[in-house]
Each structure stands twice: as structure tokens, then as C-alpha cells.
Symmetry: C2
Subunit: 77 residues, 2 copies
């Protein structure tokens, strides 16, 4: 088994209402922040021979509106 | 400004209903997966002198039920 992390963000240019809300809240409170994006993270252990890209694109991500990266994590992390 | 990524996951041992649902769905379909965890990712640009840990702990994360990591990203990513 290997451990993988999938980082999922709304595609650039698409609405990200959570990100907008966090950004405005922080700016209202005087913090100097910008370009807040809110997305999802999914970590899972998977057999070495599974096609993780296939699993991700069929079941985890909506490729119309989301972009993603797959990171392989060290064993045990 | 620097770009930071906050990775947020439910604390080990706490309920993670989304993770359980994804895990069971994938197993039902015959995939050999395990220990699925679903969390959040928040990316933001922040002035170099802002205390990002303070922002995260006050406004982004619920430290009772979530654990987090802060990663600094390369400029422009």
C-alpha cells in the first residue's frame, strides 16, 4: 500500500464563495491577505497497482470545476 | 507577500463521515483502499510580516477537532 494525498481546488476563474468569504472576513479585520482559495484534501492508502488517477477522476474530483494534484506521501505518514 | 497553504484534517480518532463514505464507496466497487481522510485546504497570500499561525488558529482551523500543517509555497504558485 502507498499513501497518497489529493489536493483539490476550484479551477482558476471559477467562483469560490468560501474563499471569498474568508478573504473578506480577514480583510475586514485588518489582515493583509489576498487570493484566498478554499479546497479539499483527500488522503488514502491504496494498493501499489491501483490506478489512483482513475479513482480520483471518476470518484473524487469534478474535473469540470476542480483541478487537482496527487502527492505520494512517505510510508506511515 | 508570500503564498501559504494550510492543510487541515480531522484529528485522528475523531469521526470523519466524509472519509468513511468515500472509503466504503470505493471498497464496494472493488478498489483496494484504506484509511481515507477528507479535509480542507486553504491557500492564501499574506504579507511577510503577518503572523500566519495566529490567523490560522483564530479563523481557519478548529483546533479542538482539526489538525493542520502550514506549507510555504514558491512565489507565484
Amino acid at each position: 500500500m502507498k499513501r497518497v494525498r489529493i489536493l483539490i481546488k476550484p479551477k482558476k476563474g471559477l467562483l469560490d464563495p468560501q474563499g471569498r468569504a474568508v478573504e473578506e472576513l480577514l480583510k475586514d479585520r485588518g489582515f493583509k491577505v489576498g487570493e484566498v482559495q478554499v479546497g479539499k484534501i483527500v488522503e488514502l492508502s491504496v494498493e501499489d497497482n491501483e490506478n489512483i488517477k482513475d479513482i480520483v477522476e471518476r470518484f473524487i474530483v469534478n474535473p469540470l470545476i476542480e483541478e487537482y494534484e496527487i502527492e505520494e506521501l512517505n510510508n506511515g505518514s
